[in-house]
C-alpha cells in the first residue's frame, strides 16, 4: 500500500515565472522511508508543504494515508506529523510547556497530555532540560523537541523537512540516531535532505529532485549502479603510463582512460579488490612502482553530479519562499 502519493504536482511563484514544482510525482510505500534529495531550491520544501496541507498546488493531486490532501486537508492533519527546517516551537516556553500545549491541541486531555509530554522528553533525552525555556537549548535539542512535538499522536506518516540542516556534526549524529529508532519502530517517513550521506544512511529509497522534477529514483545501490560501479585508479610516473594502461585494461577487461595532467589511469572494474590485487601484481612484475593506487566507490555526490550535471546551487524558488517570510 502506498502511504503517500503525489501526482503531477505543479507549483509556480511570481505569476508563473518561477516553477518551484514542475510536474513532480512520487510515492512512499507504507512502512518505508523515502528520502527526497536535492540541492537548495530544487523544490523539496514545496513538496512537503503541499503534502502537509500548508500549500495548495497549482495543479496535480496528492494523497496521504489514502486521504486527498486538497479536498480533505483537515482529515490529513489528523494523521500526519511534520517537523520543519526550523524548530517550530515556542522559544520562551519550556520544552515541557510546549509538548503539553501541543498534546492539548491534539485533544489528548490534560492528564494524557502531561503523561505523553514526559514520555517524549524521556525518549528524546530531554528530561533534564524539560523545565528550561527552549531558547537555552542547543540546535540539536531544539530539533529533537520539534520532532517530539510531531510525534505526540503517533502519526501514520511523518514528514521531516531537512531535519539536520544547520546542525553541527554531533547534533546531526544524534538526530540520525533518533530517526533510525523511529524507522525501526515502523513509521512511514518522507524525509528531505541536501546531504547525500543522510539519504544513504536513513532511507530505503531515494528520489533525486532538481528544478522541481524527480530526475531519478531507486535505492542507494541502484542509483550508484546507474553511475557505474567501482573504478580502479592508478597514478604512475610519465614513463610508465603506456605500459600501465595496458595492464589496467587487461585486468579490468575494459578500456582504460587517462587523465594526462594527473597521470591517472582508471577503468571500471567489477571484481573490486581482487582486480586491485591483480593490477598491483602485474605492475610489480613489470618493475613499475605506482605513486598511488586505489578503488573508488561512487558516492551519492557522484550520482547527483552525473544526474544533474551541476553541483548544489541555490535557486530562485527557494529564495522566493524565504522572502515570503515564513522562515
Amino acid at each position: 500500500m502506498k502511504s503517500v502519493i503525489a501526482e503531477h504536482l505543479v507549483k509556480t511563484y511570481d505569476k508563473g515565472r518561477v516553477r518551484a514544482l514542475d510536474d513532480l510525482s512520487l510515492d512512499v510505500e507504507e512502512g518505508t522511508v523515502l528520502s527526497v534529495l536535492g540541492p537548495n531550491g530544487a523544490g523539496k520544501t514545496t513538496v512537503v508543504r503541499i503534502l502537509t496541507t500548508l500549500l495548495r498546488p497549482d495543479s496535480g493531486s496528492a494523497s496521504v494515508a489514502g486521504i486527498d490532501v486538497i479536498k480533505n486537508p483537515e482529515k490529513v492533519r489528523e494523521v500526519i506529523g511534520l517537523s520543519g527546517q526550523y524548530a517550530a516551537v515556542d522559544e520562551i516556553l519550556t520544552g515541557y510547556d510546549n509538548l503539553v500545549m501541543f498534546g492539548q491541541l491534539y485533544h489528548l486531555g490534560n492528564k494524557q497530555a502531561i503523561i505523553r509530554a514526559n514520555e517524549l522528553l524521556e525518549r528524546f533525552s530531554l528530561t533534564e532540560a524539560a523545565k528550561r525555556p527552549i531558547k537555552t537549548y542547543s540546535g540539536g535539542m531544539r530539533r529533537r523537541l520539534d520532532l517530539a512535538a510531531s510525534l505526540i499522536v503517533k502519526p501514520k506518516v511523518l514528514f521531516l523537512d531537512e531535519p539536520t540542516t544547520g546542525l553541527d556534526p554531533r547534533g546531526r549524529q544524534e538526530m540520525w540516531g533518533v530517526i533510525q529508532e523511529l524507522v525501526k519502530g515502523g513509521v512511514t517517513l518522507l524525509l528531505t535532505t541536501q546531504y547525500l550521506e543522510e539519504a544513504d544512511q536513513l532511507a530505503d529509497e531515494i528520489a533525486v529532485i532538481d528544478t522541481g522534477k524527480v530526475i531519478a529514483r531507486g535505492t542507494s545501490d541502484t542509483l550508484k549502479k546507474q553511475v557505474g560501479g567501482e573504478r580502479l585508479e592508478v597514478v604512475v610516473e610519465q614513463a610508465n603510463v603506456a605500459k600501465t594502461m595496458e595492464i589496467v585494461a587487461a585486468v579490468s577487461g575494459n578500456k582504460a582512460s587517462l587523465d594526462e595532467g594527473l597521470r591517472l589511469i582508471s577503468a571500471p572494474v567489477s571484481s573490486g579488490s581482487a582486480a586491485l590485487f591483480e593490477v598491483l601484481k602485474s605492475l610489480n612484475s613489470s618493475g613499475i612502482h605506482p605513486l598511488d593506487v586505489g578503488l573508488k566507490r561512487p558516492s551519492l555526490d557522484d550520482v547527483f553530479l552525473s544526474l544533474t550535471g551541476h553541483a548544489a546551487e541555490e535557486k530562485k524558488a527557494e529564495i522566493q519562499e524565504k522572502k515570503r517570510g515564513r522562515k
Binding site: R49, L54, Y86, D90, L93, Q104, L105, K323, G325
Partner: protein, 263 residues
C-alpha cells in the same frame, strides 16, 4: 466546541508567555504610566480645560484610548514573530480549528489590556483623576476600551500576517496608530487645529472613543468643526459602530490571510 477549546489553549499559551517573560507585562504597563505622568505634569499646567478637576480629567480617557490602540502593534508583532519562527506552519499542520491561533492571540492581547488598564487607572487616581459618575459608568467605559482594543487587535493581526519582516510590522503599526492617536482630541482639544484637520480629528474613531469615555466619566466634550453632528452628539453609539465596522472588515480579512498564509 473543539474550536473554543483550541482557542482557549492558545489564549492560555499567551498568558503563560507573560508569566515566563514578566518584562513584557512590566514594560507594557510602565510605558502608559509614564505617559500619564509626563502629560499630567508637562502639559497639564499649560492647557486650560475650562472643566473642573483640571487637565488630568481630560487626559486620562485620551491615554486609555491611546494605550488600547497600541494593541494593534502588539498583536501584529506577535503574529509576525510566530510566522518567522515557523510556528504558524506547525499550528496549521495540526488537526485544530484553523482560526484558533489568531483568535487566541487577539484574546490574549486583550487580557493583557485588562492588567494594563487597571494599573493605569490606579496611577491616574494617584495623580488626581476622579471620575464623577460612579462605578457603573466607569466600568462601562473600561469595557468599551477593551472592546476597542480588541477590534484594533484584528487590524494588527492582518498587518502581522501580511508583513514579511518584523521591522516592517513595527513601522506599519506606528504609521497606523500614531496619526490616529495624535490627530485626535486625546491630548489637546481639536478646536485649536486648522479647520480642515478638525473634520478628520473629530471623526477619527480614537476621538469618538475618547469622547465616549469622557462622557462616561462625567465630562463635557468640546467639538469644533463637527459640533452638533451625530458623532459629537453621540460618541458612544458612533464608537460602537466603528468597533463593529472594524471587526466586520478585519476579522474575515485576517482569518483569510491566515488560512492562505502560504499560497
Amino acid at each position: 466546541m473543539s474550536a473554543v477549546r483550541d482557542t482557549y489553549i492558545i489564549t492560555r499559551r499567551q498568558l503563560l508567555l507573560l508569566t515566563r517573560v514578566p518584562e513584557v507585562l512590566i514594560f507594557s504597563t510602565i510605558q502608559p504610566v509614564m505617559f500619564v505622568l509626563l502629560f499630567r505634569y508637562v502639559f497639564g499646567g499649560s492647557i486650560s480645560t475650562g472643566q473642573p478637576g483640571g487637565y488630568v480629567q481630560l487626559l486620562m480617557p485620551g491615554i486609555f484610548v491611546q494605550t488600547v490602540a497600541f494593541t494593534l502593534a502588539g498583536t501584529a508583532s506577535g503574529l509576525a514573530e510566530d510566522m518567522k519562527k515557523g510556528l504558524i506552519d506547525r499550528f496549521r499542520s495540526l488537526p485544530i480549528s484553523q482560526s484558533a491561533l489568531v483568535i487566541g492571540r487577539t484574546l490574549g492581547d486583550s487580557l493583557l489590556n485588562i492588567v494594563v488598564l487597571t494599573v493605569m487607572g490606579i496611577a491616574g487616581y494617584i495623580v488626581g483623576w476622579r471620575p464623577t459618575t460612579g462605578i457603573a459608568h466607569v466600568a462601562l467605559g473600561f469595557l468599551f476600551l477593551l472592546f476597542f482594543g480588541y477590534a484594533l487587535s484584528w487590524v494588527g493581526a492582518l498587518v502581522g500576517l501580511s508583513a514579511s519582516d518584523a521591522r516592517v510590522v513595527q513601522n506599519v503599526s506606528f504609521i497606523v496608530t500614531f496619526p490616529l492617536t495624535f490627530l485626535s482630541n486625546a491630548f489637546a482639544p481639536t478646536t485649536g487645529m486648522p479647520r480642515v484637520l478638525q473634520y478628520f480629528a473629530e471623526w477619527n474613531p480614537v476621538s469618538t472613543m475618547v469622547a465616549a469615555c469622557r462622557q462616561l466619566f462625567g465630562l463635557k466634550n468640546q467639538f469644533g468643526a463637527t459640533a452638533g453632528s451625530f458623532p459629537s452628539e453621540h460618541p458612544l453609539t458612533t464608537s460602537l459602530i466603528y468597533i463593529l465596522l472594524i471587526m466586520a472588515v478585519f476579522v474575515p480579512l485576517a482569518l483569510r490571510k491566515y488560512r492562505n498564509s502560504a499560497n
